[in-house]
Structure formats: structure tokens, C-alpha cells
């Protein structure tokens, strides 16, 4: 087997387009869940809102990509208001139930026959999405990377994506070290105590939901632009659970937690996959076929997560001291 090639493919995925999509969702979830303590189990809905805003505006209505980004942010804000206003006054579990239900509802809505003209039904929207973005690609036409296997188009997405991700990370860092961040952390610790100090907790929770949803919507925009396709069944609830996994892996309520979590998650997932495939293809593992790899790598990932929770429950970047306090 070619170890060099396995490594190259793994790195390509760990920092690639798909990883970036999860990274945006994780940065958003970090504000919602990590800092504010909101159990948002429907993060995928915000990603879908971003992706479909691009798909519908660009393909269905044949308008500008830049307009679709504005529409994506408006859509995700409306979604946050719709989910938040009825539930954020109630106990935390209600938001969890409503968000997971809403994310499935949204998926079934966009894949329904009734709205096929707008959302494209089960096939979704496929075509020249994000042409305006790809036209800006400054890389030379015959550009290839020496080691990594990104195409010219993907590399452009990856560069812009990582710049945006760092920008959002900086944004989160600025927010959470401000008095605003102090209030939301207080809400995570004990809502009633923060109310008793004269803060309108409901508004802060809504703000956190909107901001986190907006950042996740960028994941959807990136998805549509990079993959040139928006399909309803890619927005299943398991997306949200992988985002939670990433966040816990990196350490919730850590500014760099989502970045570390995403890279490790995709490095391991891709690594397991590539190593297994290459072992199977070279005849080292006889009782498995290449089609088994997809599910086995998730099993290994789950095992890895269990080990992490046992030996380092606070995540890679977390502070064990804080976790000990939580138990009291």
C-alpha cells in the first residue's frame, strides 16, 4: 500500500470542503451550545437554509449569488426567530425537541412534490451554482498542488473557506470575552441567577441562536457553491450529531475547539477509511469488501469517541477543572 497517498488523501479531507461545512456549523453551535448552553439539535436546518437560499435564488429565480448570501442570512435569522420565540422561554429540553423536529420538517418540506418547482424535490437543485464566485478564482488555470489532491476549484473554495472560518473564530473570540459573552456564559450556568441580576435572558438566548445559525448558514452557502448541488437528503439529523461530536472532541466553549475538533474528526474518519480501503484492496483483510469501509470507519470513530469521553471528557482543548465543577 502507498502510505504517502493514504496520508495525502487523509489531509485533503481533514482540511477540505466537507470539513469546512462542518466547521462553520460547529463554530455556530459553539456559541449556541458551548457558551450559551442552548441544546440546538437542529443545526442542520440552518445549514440547509443557507444552501437552499443559494440554490433557490441562483437556480430557481436566476438571480445573483451575492444576493443569495443576503437571503441566506435573512432566512437563517427567521428560522432562529421561529424556533426560538416559542421555546426559549421554556426549559432547555423544549428547544432540543423543537429544533430536531423542525430540521426534519424543513428537509421533508424542501423534498416534497408540492414545492418541486422551487426546491427541486428529492433531486434537489443542481447546476451552475456560485459561478460568480468561481469566476473570481485567481489561481492559474493549469494549477495543481504538489501534494494535496484538491482541484483548482476546490482549492479556491478551501482558501476562502478557511479565511472565513478564521474570521468567524476571531468574531467569536471577541464576543465571548466581552460583557455580552459574560452574560451568555452566566445563562449557561444558571438562567435564574442572571435574571435576578436584571438581564433579559430571553433576548440573549435569541441573539445567540441567531448568530450561531447565521454562521452555520455560511456552511450551507459553501456547500452549494463548492458542490454545485443542493440535495435534501444530505441534511439528515445525523449531520447535527456529527457537529456535536466535533464540538465535544475539540472542547465546547473553547474558541479554537471547533477548528481542532473538525480537523481531528475528519482526519480520523478519512484516515480510517483510507487505511482500511487500501488494506482491503491489497488483500490484507480478506473478510471485508471495500463497500464495508463506509460503515466500519464510523464504528471506529464511535469507539474513538467513547475512549475520548472516558479518558478526556473535557475534549482536546477543554479544562478538566471546569468539568469537575460541573458535577457539583
Amino acid at each position: 500500500m502507498d502510505i504517502g497517498q493514504v496520508f495525502t488523501l487523509t489531509i485533503t479531507q481533514a482540511f477540505g470542503v466537507t470539513a469546512l461545512i462542518y466547521l462553520f456549523a460547529a463554530i455556530g453551535l459553539n456559541i449556541q451550545f458551548g457558551y450559551t448552553g442552548l441544546l440546538n439539535f437542529g443545526q442542520v436546518a440552518f445549514v440547509a437554509a443557507g444552501a437552499y437560499a443559494v440554490g433557490v435564488i441562483v437556480l430557481t429565480f436566476d438571480l445573483s449569488l451575492w444576493l443569495s448570501i443576503v437571503v441566506a442570512l435573512i432566512t437563517s435569522t427567521l428560522l432562529a426567530l421561529l424556533l426560538g420565540i416559542p421555546t426559549l422561554r421554556l426549559r432547555a429540553d423544549y428547544l432540543a425537541i423543537v429544533t430536531i423536529a423542525a430540521s426534519e420538517l424543513l428537509r421533508l418540506l424542501v423534498r416534497s412534490i408540492a414545492f418541486k418547482d422551487v426546491f427541486g424535490g428529492a433531486q434537489g437543485l443542481n447546476g451552475k451554482l456560485g459561478q460568480e464566485f468561481h469566476d473570481l478564482n485567481p489561481l492559474p488555470v493549469d494549477f495543481t498542488l504538489p501534494l494535496l489532491s484538491w482541484s483548482r476549484q476546490d482549492l479556491w473554495v478551501v482558501i476562502v473557506g478557511w479565511c472565513l472560518a478564521l474570521l468567524f473564530t476571531l468574531f467569536v473570540w471577541g464576543l465571548v470575552r466581552s460583557p455580552w459573552g459574560r452574560v451568555v456564559k452566566g445563562i449557561r450556568e444558571d438562567e435564574d441567577a442572571v435574571v435576578s441580576l436584571g438581564k433579559n435572558v430571553f433576548v440573549y438566548k435569541l441573539q445567540a441562536l441567531i448568530i450561531g445559525g447565521g454562521i452555520a448558514a455560511f456552511g450551507g452557502i459553501l456547500w452549494a457553491v463548492a458542490k454545485q448541488s443542493v440535495q435534501p437528503d444530505t441534511f439528515q439529523p445525523d449531520f447535527t450529531f456529527f457537529v456535536f461530536t466535533i464540538l465535544l472532541l475539540g472542547g465546547a466553549a473553547r474558541v479554537f475547539g471547533p477548528i481542532v475538533g473538525t480537523v481531528i474528526f475528519w482526519f480520523l474518519l478519512a484516515g480510517f477509511g483510507e487505511v482500511l480501503s487500501s488494506l482491503i484492496n491489497n488483500g490484507y483483510i480478506a473478510f471485508l469488501t471495500p463497500t464495508d469501509v463506509g460503515s466500519i470507519r464510523f464504528m471506529l470513530m464511535g469507539l474513538g469517541l467513547m475512549l475520548l469521553m472516558i479518558f478526556r471528557p473535557q475534549g482536546i482543548f477543554g479544562d478538566r477543572r471546569e468539568l469537575a465543577l460541573d458535577a457539583r
Partner: protein
């Protein structure tokens, strides 16, 4: 009775003023006070078939320490929750500084100057002691999401708040702990922190829900001193308590609740001799394990009459 003959000139000025103001107040439930900060009428709250709170009329004197006592299940904490907006009453109106406040959101009441603490201390565990304090400061521009990213708009205010927090923490002997997580403090220290944090809001009245619960006896005295100081600085104190000795020591006025109703009011000495009060306490506690308070109550009342 020593407390009544005590020369008011020997007392701290805040206490003297409170005793003087309450001297001629009738010792009956719902008696009008000369300068009430909080007036409640017909406040009731029902849980299923149980009427937890049914208060016809009550007034809280400004600048005094008022104790709200009563046996377990008397409705003290429920009344607290209702008055501070954390629970909604079935009926009732009440005014704070003559403004009707029934139905207002709890955070609005806190902003108006009515700040409470909780029976189960709510220290924000995974935040430092200083962050706990700074959270209390009101009117922070950096708490607005759009200004949060522009530190120069709130840095000066933050510095001023930090100074004030340091001063308060110094008074409560927590100044060595500013960078520790609140969750690492002892139970008593958390009570102190919660009290200091409530004062950070700049309240006109602090409502303490069992400030002594779970505090070791050594810290109790210093906690009592802090509560007295709060009054000396002109802040009204209303607190719920079980411990009769403590109530006797620091309160200027005592309101007794039983089965949701106010059954007696008066200065501590008078109230503790009230046969109705003794009956409410002993009657409800006979046969229960909590005889210690009952015993100390009877001892007190005997000591007073002999």
C-alpha cells in the same frame, strides 16, 4: 424587656432609625408602615388544591431589616418568588416605590432595584468570582451585542465596575479569590458571593432567601454583620429564615407566616412571645425531626417571661 428599653443612641444609626420608625406601628398582621417600600394586596397562589400563599395585605418598611419567618411550607419562598416576578400569582397587586409592579418580568423588577438571592445558592460555577460580580453591574453597554465587539466603547465602564467589585469583594473577604472559579468556593463563601453580586446591581431592596442555610456557624456571625451593614448603607433588607436566634439578633421587624397567611407582625421580642406564633411553630413541628428550632423557641419565650 431589654431590647425595648435599650437606648437608641447606642445603636448604629441605620438600626436606630429603623427602630424609631417602627416604634408606633401596630403589631397586627398587615399593619401600615410609615414609609413602605413594598406594599402587597390580596396576593394568592394555589398549587393544585393547596393555597400556598394567601396574603391579604403586607407592607415592608424602607431602610429596615424585615424577617419573614414561619414553619416549613408556610409559603415564605413562594411569596418571595411571587413578589420578585419569578412566579405568577393567581390574584394580587403590589407596588414597589409606589409603582404597581404585578405581572412585570423578573429582570425588570431587578433593574428597578428589587434584587433577590436564592435558597439554593446560585453561584455561576464555571465563571470566576470576578466575572460573577461583573455580571451584577447594571447598564453595561458592552452587554449589547453590537457594542460587544468594540472594546473601546465599554473598557472604561468595565474598569469602573471592576473597581467597585473589588471594593465589595474586599468587604466580603473574597478579594483573594477573584480569579478562582465560583464553583471552587465553600458553601458559605458562595452565599457571600451571591450577596455581594446582588449588591453589584445597586438595589434598593435586597431579598435574601435563607441566607444562613448551609453556612457553618463560624461564618454566620460575619454574614450577620454584612446584612447589618447593608441596612446601614440605606438598603432595605427582607429575608426568609428558619433560625430564630439569628432573626432575633438582626431584624428590626418580623413577619410570621403560617399556611400561606401572615399570622403575626412586630418587633422580634414581641413576636417570639406571641402564643399564636409559638403554636404555629410547635404545632406544625410536633412529631417531626426538626425539634431543635422549636426547643430554642420555647426556651426563648420562657426566658423572656421569667
Amino acid at each position: 424587656m431589654p431590647a425595648n428599653t435599650e437606648n437608641t443612641t447606642k445603636m448604629a444609626p441605620g438600626r436606630a432609625a429603623a427602630v424609631e420608625a417602627l416604634r408606633d406601628v401596630a403589631r397586627v398582621p398587615g399593619s401600615p408602615k410609615p414609609d413602605p417600600i413594598l406594599v402587597a394586596d390580596q396576593v394568592s397562589r394555589q398549587f393544585g388544591g393547596l393555597k400556598a400563599v394567601d396574603v391579604t395585605h403586607v407592607e415592608i418598611q424602607r431602610g429596615a431589616i424585615t424577617a419573614l419567618i414561619g414553619p416549613n411550607g408556610a409559603g415564605k419562598t413562594t411569596l418571595f418568588n411571587l413578589l420578585t416576578g419569578f412566579d405568577n400569582p393567581d390574584t394580587g397587586e403590589w407596588t414597589f416605590n409606589k409603582t404597581p409592579v404585578a405581572g412585570k418580568a423578573p429582570y425588570r423588577l431587578a433593574r428597578m432595584g428589587m434584587v433577590r438571592t436564592f435558597q439554593l445558592t446560585k453561584a455561576l460555577s464555571r465563571m470566576t468570582v470576578m466575572d460573577n460580580m461583573l455580571l451584577g453591574a447594571s447598564g453595561q453597554s458592552g452587554e449589547r451585542v453590537f457594542k460587544a465587539l468594540l472594546p473601546f466603547t465599554w473598557k472604561a465602564q468595565e474598569r469602573a465596575n471592576t473597581e467597585r467589585a473589588m471594593e465589595l469583594l474586599g468587604r466580603f473577604n473574597l478579594d483573594a479569590k477573584i480569579d478562582d472559579f465560583a464553583g471552587s468556593l465553600s458553601g458559605g463563601q458562595r452565599k457571600l458571593l451571591e450577596m455581594a453580586r446582588a449588591l453589584m446591581v445597586g438595589p434598593e431592596i435586597v431579598m435574601l432567601d435563607e441566607p444562613m442555610a448551609g453556612v457553618n456557624p463560624a461564618l454566620t456571625q460575619s454574614l450577620l454583620g454584612h446584612i447589618k451593614n447593608i441596612r446601614e448603607e440605606g438598603t432595605t433588607v427582607l429575608f426568609v429564615e428558619h433560625d430564630m436566634d439569628m432573626v432575633h439578633d438582626i431584624s428590626d421587624w418580623v413577619i410570621v407566616m403560617a399556611q400561606g397567611q401572615i399570622i403575626a407582625e412586630g418587633p422580634p421580642d414581641a413576636v417570639m412571645k406571641d402564643p399564636q406564633v409559638i403554636e404555629a411553630y410547635l404545632g406544625s413541628r410536633h412529631g417531626s425531626a426538626l425539634t431543635a428550632d422549636g426547643a430554642s423557641l420555647t426556651a426563648d419565650s420562657q426566658g423572656g417571661t421569667t
